[in-house]
Symmetry: C2
DNA sequence: CATGGACAACTGCTATAGCAGATGGCATGC
DNA sequence: GCATGCCATCTGCTATAGCAGTTGTCCATG
């Protein structure tokens, strides 16, 4: 068994089945607004546009329905759901809850490898924060959270969090770039969170993660300030 | 438009497509232990046993995979995942988080119909608690939570909570029956929760729901007492 | 002109056939 | 005897065809 690479593989390789590819393409198209809310879509209609059969398209649509991105009534048709600011706020709330659970579970089963990987990302973050390198910071942030998601070791949780990622990957960048003065706060929160995980304190880790995501959402303008 | 029935239809009718039916049957079979962990299952193998084609079976297996109940690696095979007490505890944690989110969202958009429906279930609960009628109590409890899930108005959240229900529908009964002295506590929590929803306080509703689910999990022996 | 009903064109859903990749046993060579 | 490579078999995955509902349009009728 050879030594692990410096950056442990999160999902080491992409399988890219046709259904998976269709799912991602459609998801991105919806998020980017290329398929506006209310657009009628159908398995047969999308199949030739994606260059595949109708069957994988159907599978992709079922997943998108589970994610809440499309609405389909049984024998009639499928349309992309509308998610305005209100819905994005809802998804943000849910993400806060699930990220908190992931942090708690990760704290329970934290091992040396996880702690080292988290520390590596923190090091990147410290440098990027000092340099206000938002690009690198966004990447490190993604890795940091992804590490926790995987460390939680729960398939359902991982799947759910991955689905939620589609909703705010745009707003995440905006949140980081629009308010550079928030960057030190985020860094401090990440460090405090890593500490809670290191001392294997699930409740503390959950609470800190929730606070971190909540502030992040507020910085992105997705949640009101009247929450306490 | 006729007047609504006294118990507003949660899911008014069951569509029961073949894929949906296969999903439920397989899910129940796994939960009941008829398909022990590690059992190898395949689309083609299950199709004749369910009396349907392999295609709906596949769809059901994909959903079960999303729920974390089966593990499938791409070209090799599918097996039912093992969920011992540790995994059930994880799912309990996640359920606590998602139930909290649902309560918060339900509090945000609470209307007269919801409050009336919740009050109706509370009335049932009060009587059932006094009579220690655990059967009726379990039903009212299910309805109460289902009302909140639907009132949250979020497809993704509803789907996730429905998936989680499969994990603890056994332990839920046990929790209620094994500790009758806990019943008044649960009733008081439900009433306090309804109050928070009535005054449209999302944070309070979320916190109370989390506490309620947490105590319920502990009563069922799914979580340790060292949590605070 | 308004209205109802049948028909054509959709839709999601299911069945069947066949694909490529993975698995395990068995024969072959060392 | 042990390792090695081949091949039958089984797997998930995809393509195609056809089913049964739904919907909208157009013509016939009051």
């Amino acid at each position: 068994m050879a030594a692990a690479p410096p950056l442990p593989p999160l999902p080491p390789a992409e399988n890219l089945s046709l259904a998976e590819g269709a799912y991602r393409r459609l998801r991105d198209a919806i998020v980017r607004g290329e398929l506006p809310a209310g657009t009628k879509i159908s398995e047969r209609g999308l199949a030739p546009k994606l260059g595949i059969s109708a069957q994988p398209v159907r599978e992709a649509l079922r997943r998108l329905e589970a994610d809440g991105m499309v609405l389909t009534q049984p024998r009639s048709g499928t349309m992309v759901a509308e998610f305005g600011p209100a819905r994005l706020a809802e998804m943000g709330r849910i993400r806060m809850a699930l990220e908190g659970s992931a942090a708690a579970l990760a704290a329970e089963r934290a091992d040396a490898a996880l702690l080292a990987a988290l520390e590596a990302q923190l090091t990147r973050m410290r440098a990027a924060t000092a340099a206000e390198d938002t690009q690198t910071l966004a990447e490190a942030n993604e890795h940091f959270h992804a590490l926790i998601h995987h460390a939680a070791g729960n398939a359902f949780l991982l799947r759910s969090l991955t689905a939620l990622r589609g909703y705010d990957h745009v707003n995440r960048l905006r949140a980081l770039e629009s308010t550079p003065k928030e960057l030190p706060k985020a860094l401090a929160e990440h460090e405090a969170l890593a500490r809670a995980i290191r001392q294997q304190n699930p409740e503390l880790a959950e609470e800190r993660m929730r606070a971190h995501v909540l502030r992040s959402l507020r910085a992105g303008g997705l949640l009101q300030q009247d929450k306490k």
